[in-house]
Amino acid sequence: MKGSLWAWIIQRISAVLLLVFVGVHFGIMHFVDPTVEITFADTSLRLKNVLYAIVDSGLLAVGLFHGLNGLRAIIIDYWPRASRTATYILTVVGLAACGWGSTALFLFLNAK
């Protein structure tokens, strides 16, 4: 299979995963006890639950992939010549954001 076909298939698979991840993350943040103040201690406690850790780290990786791959598809639609350059730049942006964001996740997981 060509790379573009893989990009299409993984975009669909990540979409299904994101329906679950975004639903849980957004639901907990905004619909369960919506006026509660978010604190470091509560967030750390929440993320030590394996399911929440999977949801939030999954959102970081899968969400970034889905979003940036979507941007790539839009760029290619309007500006096909930039395909390769866009792919390189968006890959670097995605890996950087994923690396940067995971340092926060580890801080929460290592907090006492």
Partner: protein
């Protein structure tokens, strides 16, 4: 510029070596818009908005978290203002539409309901309206509970 049955213009692709006629689905002239075009445009605009929000969100939360727990609590308290509730409500609109319309697109990809896509677009629209109306209750509660500018 030839006009085909679907209402889209056909242009010569300059990028390809084959130089063949291709359908341009991303034509931005509103007179060619059907429900499918609106759904396509809304899906893209909401997708771009959510992606930029995600990058901002990762940058912001990580920076604040790395600054320590006291700073984290202070910043999160500072974000409890009416202004941010409005922003979150728009994010809620975007992800609700993008998610539900995305399900419709994936069903079409599997070959399901392609002939009923106009009806399904309005089904998506109706589902979004119901979900947004229900979810907005919580946003209104928070909007009323928070001050315009939270104390840091």
């Amino acid at each position: 510029m030839a006009l085909n049955k679907g209402g889209y213009t056909a242009k010569k692709a300059k990028c390809c070596q084959m130089n063949r006629e291709v359908r341009v689905y991303a034509d931005l002239k509103p007179r060619y818009f059907r429900t499918g075009m609106w759904s396509h445009l809304l899906h893209r605009v909401s997708g771009i908005a959510i992606t930029f929000f995600l990058l901002l969100h990762i940058w912001e939360v990580t920076s604040v978290t790395r600054g320590g727990s006291a700073g984290f609590d202070r910043t999160m308290a500072g974000l409890s203002s009416k202004l941010f509730v409005i922003g979150e409500w728009f994010l809620f609109l975007a992800i609700t539409f993008h998610g539900i319309n995305g399900v419709r697109l994936m069903l079409h990809d599997l070959g399901w309901g392609v002939r009923k896509q106009k009806a399904l677009f309005w089904t998506v629209f109706g589902l979004c309206a119901v979900l947004i109306a229900a979810g907005s209750y919580y946003f209104i509660m928070r909007f009323l509970a928070y001050p315009w500018a939270a104390a840091h």
